[in-house]
């Protein structure tokens, strides 16, 4: 049975000021996933998230939330979505509590929700201070409180760790995991740093220049990491060794230094045969190991077309 998709786009294309910023993006966010939406700055992350919320003029393609098309059931669907897009929208002349109240009234929710979300983000003691006097991290948490108000089934967070210190980032991560694990929430979180989300994300979408260049579970990304592992061989004369292995002339990578040979991932038998032939030809082998690229490297490989 196919996974239930909480958010899905089909053929999403969008132009801004005559420039095409999204090309045929097909996002698929399964239920109870933390979907890490990755890409360099300006790749189209915020535009995609804005389209998921109906904040931009209708694009080419469709946006479905909870299985229903957004443009036909906007108010009903958005009632189950909490969002924090770019910098949080905060009225500096109101207190933290009044800021939450203003949004609560718009949702038509019971008064108790205000205290509940302020407690969730740890702002209870500062609730009666003017939001204009909040620190950047507190503003970010207040923004998250606004997003959590309707107890949303889907939470869309655009770079929520912007401006947070290490402690704040760890807290945010713990909060997201708690929301998913204990409440079954689906969370889409965008970031330009893979390191920020690889520990929380269950699924990953990577966007580059408006095109989705990878989408799948974090395991699939990790498998990709494994398959792009390389065999590193330390010997006395890398160039001589390479000549002894003519079948790898095409696939062997450039020799990083005179004593190191880098080969693609091989089967166990292939490794045994390579070692046997080199030793038989009198080449010493000092060290032999697999080098696995970090997810960061994979991300860079996918998002910078000329890096590899």
């Amino acid at each position: 049975m196919p996974e239930t998709l909480v958010a899905a786009t089909r053929g999403l294309s969008f132009s801004l000021g005559g420039r095409r910023v999204l090309h045929d993006v097909g996002l698929a966010v399964p239920e109870a996933a933390i979907y890490g939406f990755l890409g360099p700055n300006g790749a189209g992350k915020t535009t995609t998230l804005r389209l998921l919320l109906g904040l931009l003029p209708p694009p080419a393609g469709t946006v479905h939330l909870f299985g229903h098309e957004l443009r036909h059931h906007r108010a009903a669907l958005l009632g189950r979505v909490g969002a924090l897009i770019e910098n949080p929208s905060i009225y500096a002349h109101l207190t933290g509590l009044e800021n939450v109240e203003a949004t609560r009234l718009l949702h038509g929710l019971p008064r108790a929700r205000t205290a509940a979300v302020l407690a969730t983000v740890g702002l209870t003691t500062d609730a009666n201070r003017l939001a204009g006097h909040y620190s950047l991290g507190m503003r970010q948490r207040l923004g998250l409180a606004l997003a959590l108000l309707p107890d949303p089934a889907l939470l869309i967070l655009d770079e929520p760790t912007n401006g947070l210190d290490t402690g704040g980032i760890t807290e945010m991560r713990a909060l997201l995991q708690h929301l998913r694990r204990d409440y079954g929430k689906t969370i889409i979180i965008s970031s330009h740093l893979i390191s920020e989300i690889e520990r929380v994300a269950t699924h990953v979408g990577i966007i580059e220049r408006g095109r989705l260049c990878f989408q799948g579970s974090i395991e699939a990304l990790q498998r990709m990491q494994e398959t792009s592992a390389r065999l590193v061989l330390h010997t006395a004369d890398a160039a001589a060794c390479r000549r002894l292995l003519p079948e790898f002339t095409e696939t062997a990578l450039p020799i990083p230094d005179a004593e190191t040979l880098v080969l693609p991932r091989l089967s166990r038998q292939q490794v045994a045969s390579v070692v046997e032939r080199l030793v038989a030809a009198g080449q010493p082998i000092y060290q032999l190991h697999y080098q696995q690229p970090s997810l960061e490297d994979i991300f860079l490989q996918l998002t910078t077309p000329f890096a590899a």
Binding site: F66, H73, R74, E86, A92, H93, A102, L106, G108
Partner: protein, 269 residues
């Protein structure tokens, strides 16, 4: 996935928006401006009459008529338009400054509702300013009668009917201005642009007051309404019917409101 797809009704959405908009008025200058905007012209005219009333009311001129028309002139020509320009700018800038549109438009209330609610709050503040102005004007007239019995305020009944007509018609005559300034303030993230345009409109309207078609300009409305006030013996007469320029003001307001609504739908949140 099954979920109830019924959206809240427009009336329910509007009452939610209004409740939130009232809350957002806290600690803003907009609310104070509405009261102060009503009080300022009264205070000015009170001081003028208090110190110079014996000159102005020479030859037993009817005091209420003189007092009302002098005060209304200052209020309608200059202060009311300035007040509307500032009020619309201030009220809307609260959202611009908080970069709140993207947040508001992602909530389960329609854009049209958010737009309408804000406009209604603006209209209510205008009503508040009118009520504050008229209330204070009558009270200050009584006060002048007490402080300077020789002015004769106490010998003449307060022309409440005429004041009510004048107030209601001035309100209608200023709605055109209000609609235009609201849309302009909504469209511009900068606070300066709508205020600049408003002041430019006001200063170009004043020299055009002798032009026969000036009634079609929204900034001329309150002054033209004032001109329909007449003195008949000791009576003050203001017809209850709306004049052509007041109908024009309503049309301006409706047109601006609809144009703004269309623009809002196209705007990026």
């Amino acid at each position: 996935m099954s979920l109830p797809l019924a959206s809240p009704s427009f009336a329910r959405q509007l009452s939610r928006c209004l409740a939130a908009d009232y809350l957002k008025l806290r600690r803003t200058p907009a609310l104070w401006l509405a009261v102060a905007g009503g009080a300022l012209p009264v205070l000015l005219e009170f001081c003028i009459f208090f110190f110079r009333g014996n000159v102005i009311l020479r030859h037993h001129a009817p005091p209420w008529f003189r007092y009302l028309s002098a005060s209304w002139e200052v209020a309608a020509v200059l202060l009311l338009p300035l007040f509307i320009v500032l009020l619309a700018g201030l009220l809307v800038s609260v959202e611009h400054r908080a970069t709140a549109w993207k947040h508001l438009y992602a909530l389960p209330v329609g854009r049209a509702t958010i737009y309408t609610s804000k406009f209604l709050v603006l209209v209510q503040l205008l009503v508040l300013a009118h009520v504050a102005y008229v209330g204070l004007l009558i009270v200050s007239g009584y006060l002048l009668g007490l402080l300077h019995p020789e002015f004769g305020f106490q010998h003449q009944a307060v022309p409440l009917g005429a004041i009510a007509h004048l107030t209601a018609r001035t309100f209608v005559a200023s709605l055109g201005m209000l609609g235009c300034q609201y849309v302009l303030s909504m469209q511009s993230r900068s606070f300066v642009l709508p205020i600049g345009v408003g002041l430019a409109c006001l200063t170009t309207t004043l020299p055009l007051l002798r032009w026969e078609h000036v009634g079609w300009l929204p900034f001329a409305g309150p002054l033209l309404t004032l001109q329909s006030m007449r003195e008949a013996g000791a009576e003050l007469i203001v017809p209850a019917q709306l004049a052509a320029h007041e109908i024009g003001s309503l049309l301006w307001c409706a047109a601006a409101f609809l144009a703004g609504l269309l623009l809002r739908h196209r705007n990026v949140g």
